[in-house]
């Protein structure tokens, strides 16, 4: 197990390093300058290039950038509008996105599990059909369609929740965004849970437990749920990732100051802010790879069969 974990960690760090290098080179070989050239004189451009270290060889620039990264700094924004250090702004945005993300994953997992369990227990009955329809709709209809409707009806028509996200009123204003962000998670987890539960319920050891006289909630909790839950960890990994892209839309709809919005501003605003794009890309990749790593290891801990399989392979 230790060897497996060490190998996975090493692979992840290596992957992240390669990605950082590729991103850095891609952004540096781009034609043009990272600042509005048409508004500057030739000397100003030269001076600015000198200041940002853009006239050095690309490898030297990369080494400098890496040493800066390792010391925990992301440098400054490059555009003339925003030359302030990136880190504090990005941290603030990350915290906002993180709160919404964690809330919606918790919410999605809890509700999705509940729906899936109810559907599996009532297999073939009305409740099962209802759950199936809900989960099909959730997978097929893009979450931001739901978001727009939720916002329109529950914030505008019936002003029950705040229309926009407001950090000072976190609890009330974060319900709508995290609910809409979790809809996809709810339907995926519900569908998966139902199928897993049904499979376990048909297995011999559950039949044995039933034959011994165990029934109802006790049976479900002790024998079915424990075994059905293992594979569900695998669906959560891609969901964490889909949160990143989902966050971009939701932050636009609810006006949240998060990393998705920061990225959109950096690429679609006036003039691309190269350093922001680079810093955010590195952070996103690190988060993604980190999430994959944690879930892989977690999966190995929960299910010993996985560990054996990787040892053989």
């Amino acid at each position: 197990m230790t060897k497996y974990v060490a190998k996975r960690i090493l692979m992840s760090v290596l992957t992240l390093f390669i990605i950082t290098f590729v991103l850095f080179v891609l952004i540096r070989i781009m034609p043009g300058d990272p600042f509005p050239v048409e508004r500057m004189s030739a000397e100003m451009i030269l001076q600015k290039r000198e200041e940002l270290g853009l006239n050095k060889p690309i490898l030297e620039q990369f080494v400098n950038y890496m040493s800066m990264l390792l010391s925990g700094s992301f440098g400054n924004g490059t555009s003339l509008y925003n030359g302030a250090p990136i880190k504090p702004i990005m941290t603030a945005c990350l915290i906002n996105s993180f709160k919404i993300g964690v809330l919606s994953i918790l919410f999605g997992t809890a509700v999705g599990l509940a729906i899936g369990i109810v559907a599996a227990i009532n297999r073939g009955k009305f409740l099962d059909g209802l759950c199936t329809i809900v989960s099909i709709l959730g997978v097929c209809i893009p979450s931001y369609v739901f978001m727009i409707f939720l916002q329109y009806f529950f914030s505008y028509k019936i002003p029950f929740f705040p229309y926009f996200f407001d950090p000072s009123n976190f609890l009330a204003s974060s319900i709508m965004p995290s609910l809409s962000l979790s809809l996809f998670a709810i339907s995926t987890i519900a569908r998966f849970t139902r199928n897993e539960m049904l499979e376990v319920m048909n297995s011999d050891y559950v039949k044995l437990a039933e034959a011994k006289g165990l029934y109802g909630f006790e049976l479900i909790r002790k024998h079915v749920l424990r075994n059905a839950l293992i594979p569900i960890v695998t669906v959560i990994a891609p969901l964490v990732v889909s949160l990143l892209t989902g966050a971009m839309v939701i932050e636009k709809i609810y006006g949240i100051n998060g990393v998705g919005k920061l990225m959109v501003d950096a690429i679609a605003g006036q003039g691309v802010d190269y350093n922001y794009v680079l810093a955010l890309s590195i952070v996103f990749s690190a988060l993604y790879i980190g999430a994959m790593l944690v879930l892989d290891i977690l999966y190995g801990i929960i299910d010993p069969r996985i560990r054996l399989a990787t040892k053989e392979g």
Partner: protein, 326 residues
């Protein structure tokens, strides 16, 4: 013993011949088609998608406006009125009286363009993007996966490490980097789909190839002196078509969604071009005052996503029918 005369025989009519229907021999694709059309959900999906495609192809052709035309009338005093933000319900504002004799089935947008035409034009653009991108993805992904699976060893190892690294870059990052390099528009959307969607395709092709390359017919072909290229593309490829088509069916809604998502956040289709995503974006801007504008593109998007998912599910079941469905 009496000799048998002609009168002793009679022709049996067709209905007397019983054909064993349970074990009738059936071609592979015919079997798939029968299973597919027996599935109510799959047929529903097929109908939904066909209707949208028909409208997307023909509605802009027969419409009396073009998608970028700003509709206006000039009254007797030479004053020009633009058909701005007319809702499909007639007769709300004074300006609408000028357009009483026209019909705008979905209303007009805030620039005075016909939303009926724009919605179907948008559906057309979105579908073209999805089909083109996924088709190229299929070509790249399948070839990559087949080559990786067939040769195995060092080649497979190298190709799979590359996929591992390429796959751990979040889609969002790829799109952002592309957005810096390229002009916003159809090209950017297609490029980001090309870079992200082929990986899943190649994984399926590789898995199928690993299964098939050990079969006797491949060995026979090799014994007869067939080259690797011939075996991969003439012997193995035709047998992997089924799972690949299923994957394509699931990739198309992803592509449509990605386009809608990119246009919505502002790095996709640019005006006056329109797509489902850009129409939703425009409608979202006016949702509190003109909520009717967002309904047509959102409905079309939802129907397309639902339809393609149902078709994909139907295909998957038809290719690997379970015993109980037989």
């Amino acid at each position: 013993m009496r000799t048998l005369l002609k009168e002793d025989f009679e022709f049996i009519s067709d209905r007397d011949i019983s054909v064993d229907e349970n074990f009738a021999s059936q071609g592979y694709w015919k079997g798939v088609a029968v299973h597919f059309f027996r599935n109510k959900f799959a047929v529903t999906g097929l109908i939904l998608v066909s209707v949208i495609i028909l409208f997307a192809v023909f509605a802009p052709l027969v419409s009396s406006y073009t998608y970028e035309q700003i509709i206006s009338v000039t009254d007797s005093s030479g004053k020009e009125f633009i058909a701005k933000s007319l809702s499909p319900q007639i007769g709300a504002s004074a300006e609408q009286n000028f357009f009483a004799d026209r019909t705008f089935l979905f209303g007009t947008d805030d620039m005075g363009r016909d939303l009926w035409t724009r919605t179907w034009q948008g559906a057309r653009v979105s579908l073209i993007i999805a089909f083109v991108a996924i088709f190229i993805d299929m070509l790249i992904g399948t070839s990559y996966g087949l080559i990786s699976g067939y040769f195995g060893g060092m080649v497979d190892n190298a190709l799979q490490r590359f996929i591992e690294i390429a796959g751990s870059i979040p889609t969002l990052v790829i799109i952002s980097i592309l957005a810096i390099f390229m002009e916003k528009g159809i090209g950017l959307v297609i490029a980001s789909l090309l870079i992200t969607e082929w990986i899943g395709m190649s994984k399926i092709a590789r898995a199928e190839c690993l299964k098939l390359k050990e079969r006797e017919y491949v060995l026979a072909s090799r014994t007869l002196g067939a080259g690797s290229f011939h075996i991969i593309f003439k012997q193995i490829l035709p047998n992997t078509i089924g799972p690949i088509i299923t994957q394509v069916m699931f990739s198309i809604p992803v592509a449509i969604f990605t386009e809608a998502f990119l246009s919505f956040v502002g790095v996709g289709i640019v005006l006056p071009q329109c797509s489902i995503g850009s129409l939703i974006e425009a409608g979202f801007g006016n949702i509190t005052i003109l909520p009717y504008q967002i309904l047509p593109p959102i409905t079309v998007l939802a129907i397309l996503m639902l339809g393609f998912n149902l078709i994909g599910d139907g295909f998957r079941e038809a290719l690997a029918p379970k015993l109980e469905d037989m």
